[in-house]
């Protein structure tokens, strides 16, 4: 984007203003009428997210408040992902509370506030706004968990809060050194200043390594990536699907956006083996490697659907980080494309899981013969599972292929980057191995059984989600070019020129 286009323009915050107003109104409604029908509130929430998505597509690019927030194509891309995930979570919330006489009335306004913070995070052009918005993404989610009507909700919220505090302070510890080195909080200026410091003062010791280690461990803790994954187990097992789907997909993508802004943008000069000991490239590659191997090894042991999805998510996040760590024009493009594929499949599966849970399903074995009781549901579930597996003609195939291609193209740049071959090989082996597991589950949906599951009725909001996600999964699987071209703008925004 031309610098002249980045003029001060408060109009760029119109979708955020809409979300903030909606959150305030819905909070007032929740206080004054706590027993209001969740279906009515849910439809209002879906309308707000749909309207905000339309606004995001039309608001001009530019900056606001001295570059605290910059609206550019990459921010627009991530904002649409967060809004879509908010929309899907509202539909799951409506399904979960169809027959609930005392739903949590604050869940929807808090969800909207969290999406608002994520949108601001994707626009943040400054370390201060980045840190604040990353914090504000988590606080509403902690409150949603705390307000649940279960005996252990307070305990889960306490743990969630402690982990978020620890991770935030670790990230801030790393940020403090970046601020100290660059003397600037603006991400663009920081990138330039750190590069100048690197060129003029070769002896900066292990300061960058200390900063990278603190920030990376903080971000891994927030995203519950292995080896810091255990805190998320109780949260996933004891909360409704509307919350866990949002945390597992939107919140994790928000953390990855923060990672991209801090590492790919801010620490651009310290990537590669020649920067040893301050190289962050191999460190982050190792994180992706561990996530993929750990997730792949564990999905075979899972019998329940929720833990199965949790371990499957590790593999998907590992793939996204593999794309991000491939520092060429295809890397970020493939990672952004993978985020959409992951979001569509995970949202679809969590929606179906919320339907099945209300009918008493909790284990993978219960899905056997689902086709003979709920034809539409089983076919859509099969499409999502095959997309996660990477079957051709689904978006998952193009996503996996483009990530592995980006990793290989980075590995062939120079001898020094040959370690990327290991990551590409791991990703390929994982894709093959997980394909077996996903195919096994998919085939079991169509297997004949004497105890076929009972028929499940699909409510209208869930139908909307399934139609959107299935259509997008197949459409972008057959015609990926428009989405790939859109994702390529993210590479450009981060300074990678397309050939």
């Amino acid at each position: 984007m031309e610098q002249s286009e980045l003029l001060f323009n408060p109009k760029i915050l119109t979708p955020e203003a809409l979300l903030f107003s909606a959150a305030l109104i819905l909070t007032a409604v929740a206080i004054l009428r706590p027993k209001i029908n969740p279906t009515i509130v849910g439809y209002i929430g879906m309308f707000v997210f749909a309207t905000a998505s339309a606004l995001v597509a039309f608001v001009p690019f530019g900056s606001a408040y001295s570059d605290l927030f910059i609206n550019e194509p990459s921010a627009q891309f991530f904002k649409l992902i967060f809004l879509a995930m908010g929309f899907f979570s509202v539909a799951i919330y409506m399904n979960e509370n169809r027959h609930n006489s005392s739903p949590n009335p604050f869940q929807l306004p808090l969800l909207i506030l969290s999406v608002l913070a994520m949108m601001l995070l994707s626009m943040s052009g400054n370390l201060i706004s980045l840190f604040s918005t990353l914090e504000l993404c988590a606080i509403p989610l902690i409150m949603i968990v705390a307000f649940q009507n279960s005996a252990s909700s307070g305990k889960h919220a306490q743990k969630f809060l402690l982990v978020m505090l620890l991770s935030s302070l670790l990230i801030l510890f790393g940020l403090a050194f970046l601020f100290g080195l660059s003397g600037s909080a603006n991400l663009l200026q920081m990138k330039l200043q750190i590069a100048i410091v690197h060129l003029t003062q070769r002896e900066i010791g292990i300061i960058i390594l200390l900063s990278v280690a603190a920030m990376l461990s903080g971000l891994m803790l927030k995203a519950a990536l292995p080896p810091f994954h255990n805190w998320g187990k109780e949260l996933h097992d004891n909360n409704p699907h509307s919350i866990i789907s949002f945390i597992a997909v939107a919140f994790v993508i928000a953390v990855l956006v923060a990672f991209a802004k801090l590492f790919i943008n801010g620490l651009f000069a310290f990537y590669g083996p020649e920067m040893t000991p301050n190289d962050w490239g191999r460190l982050v590659s190792f994180v992706a490697f561990v996530a993929i191997v750990f997730g792949t090894a564990n999905i075979f042991r899972q019998r329940d659907i929720v833990p199965f999805m949790r371990y499957s998510n590790f593999v998907q996040i590992g793939f996204i980080i593999t794309g991000m760590v491939s520092m060429n024009q295809y890397g970020l493009q493939s990672a952004a494309f993978y985020m959409v594929a992951f979001m569509l499949a995970a949202a679809g599966i969590y929606t179906i899981m919320s339907l099945l849970k209300s009918s008493g399903f909790a284990q993978i074995a219960n899905l056997r013969g689902l086709y003979y009781s709920s034809k539409m549901l089983s076919v859509t579930l099969a499409i999502f599972l095959m997309s996660l597996a990477g079957l051709p003609l689904t978006i998952g195939f193009v996503a996996k292929f483009s990530v592995i291609e980006a990793a290989l193209s980075m590995a062939t740049v120079d001898k020094m980057y040959h370690w990327m071959f290991i990551l590409a090989a791991t990703a390929t082996i994982s894709a093959v191995v997980t394909f077996i597991k996903f195919t096994k589950i998919t085939l079991s949906l169509f297997a004949k059984t004497e105890n076929a599951p009972i028929s499940v009725k699909t409510p209208f909001p869930v139908m909307i989600v399934l139609v959107i996600t299935v259509l997008a999964t197949i459409l972008f699987g057959i015609l990926p070019e428009p989405l790939l071209a859109y994702a390529a703008k993210i590479s450009q925004a981060f300074g990678f020129m397309l050939e």
């Binding site: 201060i128 809060l161 402690l162 909080a185």
Partner: protein
């Protein structure tokens, strides 16, 4: 500058050690306050020695205090909620990594 940075790193390490070793929720929250103090020292040092009379580090500090304050208030609410729900006023242990 070196002494201030050493103080900040030492305080931060003590805070991390406290978070990992204390079992109770309140004990962990107090350790977070020590870590926050370390970060305040760190930003104030960088602001004084790198930026001269700049205010950027102070803005960082004010945002840090604000966010930690919000989270501590939320933590206080959670403690109150837990005590009133369970009727038990013991600060039970929380393990962050299991």
């Amino acid at each position: 500058m070196f002494y201030y940075l050493s103080l900040a790193v030492a305080l931060f390490t003590i805070g991390v050690f406290g978070v990992l070793s204390r079992k109770g929720f309140l004990g962990k929250l107090v350790s977070f306050i020590i870590m926050s103090n370390a970060l305040i020292v760190l930003f104030a040092t960088f602001n004084r020695y790198i930026k001269g009379d700049g205010v950027l580090g102070l803005i960082f500090i004010s945002f840090l205090i604000l966010t930690v304050l919000i989270e501590l208030l939320l933590g206080a609410y959670l403690v109150f909620q837990h005590f009133s729900k369970s009727g038990n006023n013991q600060d039970e242990g929380i393990s962050l990594f299991s």
